[in-house]
Assembly symmetry: C2
């Protein structure tokens, strides 16, 4: 989306603020959609933010705090006066309010809760970790009771008068709050008014336990095209709902996490450009990489004599190690992604490894023959060509095996396949590649010198 | 999601089929949810699939064809008898029907369309490429007219009697089909019956041109939390809607595409385990990698004399080239992901490069000092330690610059940053690393021998 319309409004807001014309600034901001309001807001200096936010309608302020990046929202909130902040948090969606309160100092959060009107809706949401289904859910706005009649249920709906967005699915509980079914508005309308809700509803309702992983909840919502997913506690009581806007957020966060981990960046995704955070998520990984590079260095050291006698061997290091490293990364990438998408079942796993061996063998024959030929033509030594070609072939097979086997083993060990596998695969393709190549070269040394 | 419940039903279906008890098999399949039906169906042998599908309710058959992977659905459809297929396609969502007809032989598609009842809804959708907003949209089920009264609009709604899923947003057009606004059911209900729809509606409606990229459409839906996004032609006429289920599909496809491209796998994502497809998407990339490895080989060849005289130098190749390669991949990964998420604007770009230079410098000092020390302690040669350390420092800075600059340049050239950048960055970190390291070593050769 082109940001320029927002940038134009930003200029006008800045001008109005400079003139001290807050009414104009407020009107300009309130004319935007929430994500655009948040974009504009985050481009203002903190002192202007603090002046502007309490002047906005509480609903607009709440929208802005919901749409800002988490750390930015917490910073803004921490600077606000207690009553002003409580008024805004009262207007936020309960799940967003809980996330914000979890990000600010806990004494401040406690004080806010003590003066909030909607504290009862937010407090239960604070008990669950961010990466669980419970951490994603918001409190359900409309819940029907199984023992009620259809007429009572419709009366209740008119009283609550929910937005149409909140009535895609109407979840049904028994008196003890156990989730027992789901019913649509249309089913209620066509049913006899004296029928019981529990006789009209569909008892087969997809749900999730509060302590399930948020990614699992997102996968279920995506698979079954759900706009809302009910969350229950261990006793089966309805605790809240995960709504469709969270689905997209979770899928993007999980994709970003996998992309970053495959790219050798650990920890939370950097949401800003802070250098300190970047160093913290990258340097440890580079040091780990240094360790694995030293294991290759140890292999190379073993063959120093061979290298000193046939220095031409080194020219093909980048080929033997590099191309196999790329092939290992390819296999690894496919395996990690298919695991993340839930497309590899246990029975597929062995077939997948076998398949990667065949691919490694085929690519190995093709690339090995090609590089052997190049080595022969370039350096004019048939034996060198043979050594380079055979080493490449063997290392591409090892790349296929390790690229498939390592992430599958990590998954089996309940470790994230995206996190540790890339380093291990590179270590193996590098170390094994140098060992096979220089080992073969040493065996035929007499013909190379 | 645990697949075992589906696997249990699968066993029972297989048993029923063996006994020729089709009624039981049909009842078992019809008791599942569509994604589970499709999972079970795809595990059956083709001959059973062909017997089962026409026996199912058309709606269930349609659900299965919608949920199967595209190629699998096309294969099944191609084997079906014409009238049976037409009956099923008539029950599919228009966008899914259009996708399927685009995947089967065109004569068969034309015949199907000629006997379909819903052909008019599907035909206009066939004109747009798969990766455009038009290729994602489905025909709108309920459209209100601006010049009608609220009473007329509500009467029309009762006549069409849409599912509650189809009335989150009611889009409004003028007589010439131009999209002019959006209205909610609630706004209609509280408005005066004699008011005109165009006076009640919100005229500020987010929409997308049919030829826009599907990823752009998905980004807009995700940003503004839309459940449906109207698509218009160049004259502003409403052509159809993109619905929320497509949003998740597109975001996952685009994330997979980026992950695969960063992992060195070109082309469409492999949806099955076919070896031929895997070779086709990987081998060309390995050959390209071979080319870049040869450029490093050329650099190494320049320094053959130095290597022959100081073979110990080779032990640190994996460190100088490998660690910098990892750092380049880190920078590249962050830059590509932030570009994909639309979080880098033009003004950020230069700051981003500057930031990566600082990170490269800082990491370079840390890693360079560490590796220099290791080289000194391991090989007992202070000058070697200095050469390794300085080369690593310089190459980490070059990794930061190339890792940030190359994807930004690709984006500016309207090329996919995920596609070509990884190979280029690796080529630079490898080639530059060897050149600096061996160049420095050659300069101080007399002290090393």
């Amino acid at each position: 989306l082109d940001r320029s319309p927002v940038d134009q409004v930003l200029e006008k807001v800045r001008l109005a603020v400079t003139r001290g014309d807050w009414d104009v600034a407020v009107a300009l901001v309130e004319g935007l959609r929430p994500p655009d309001q948040a974009d504009l807001f985050s481009d203002l200096p903190p002192v202007t933010q603090d002046e502007l936010l309490p002047r906005l309608d509480s609903e607009d302020s709440a929208d802005i705090l919901e749409e800002l990046e988490e750390e930015a929202a917490a910073e803004v909130a921490t600077r606000l006066e207690l009553r002003a902040l409580a008024r805004i948090v009262d207007e936020m969606e309960p799940d967003e309010a809980a996330d914000l309160l979890g990000d600010i100092p806990s004494e401040q959060a406690t004080e806010i809760l003590s003066v909030m009107e909607e504290a009862d809706k937010v407090r239960p949401l604070l008990d669950y970790p961010d990466d669980s289904a419970g951490g994603l859910m918001t409190s359900a706005k409309v819940v029907l009771r199984g023992p009620h009649t259809v007429a009572q249920a419709l009366h209740h709906l008119r009283e609550v008068a929910p937005d149409s967005e909140d009535v895609y699915y109407l979840f049904v509980t028994e008196e003890d709050d156990r989730l027992v079914g789901v019913v649509s508005l249309r089913q209620l309308i066509v049913a006899a008014p004296t029928a019981l809700v529990r006789d009209v509803m569909d008892p087969d309702v997809i749900h999730m336990h509060a302590d399930a992983d948020r990614e699992e909840a997102a996968r279920v919502m995506a698979r079954y095209d759900l706009l809302a997913l009910p969350v229950v506690d261990t006793a089966g009581r309805l605790m809240g709902l995960i709504t469709h806007d969270d689905l997209v957020d979770v899928l993007e966060k999980e994709a970003t996490e996998d992309i970053y981990r495959l790219g050798g960046i650990a920890g939370e995704q950097p949401t800003d450009f802070a250098i300190r955070g970047a160093l913290w998520t990258r340097l440890p990984w580079l040091v780990l990489n240094l360790g694995t590079a030293l294991s290759s260095a140890a292999v190379l050291s073993m063959f120093e004599d061979t290298i000193a006698r046939v220095a031409v061997l080194t020219a093909f290091f980048p080929v033997v190690a590099g191309v196999s490293g790329s092939a290992g990364t390819q296999t690894l990438t496919v395996t990690v992604r298919l695991l993340a998408l839930g497309e590899i079942s246990r029975k597929d796993a062995l077939a997948g490894v076998a398949r990667e061996v065949v691919i490694g063998l085929t690519n190995g024959v093709a690339i090995g023959a090609l590089i052997g030929l190049i080595a022969l033509l370039w350096k004019g030594t048939p034996v060198l060509g043979l050594v380079v070609g055979v080493a490449t072939l063997l290392n591409l097979i090892s790349a296929g095996i390790s690229g498939a086997l390592i992430p599958l083993a990590m998954e089996r060990l309940h470790l994230d396949p995206a996190l540790v596998s890339p380093v291990l695969v590179t270590t193996i393709t590098d170390g094994f590649g140098y060992f096979v190549y220089l080992g073969l070269a040493t065996l035929v040394l007499s013909t190379l010198v």
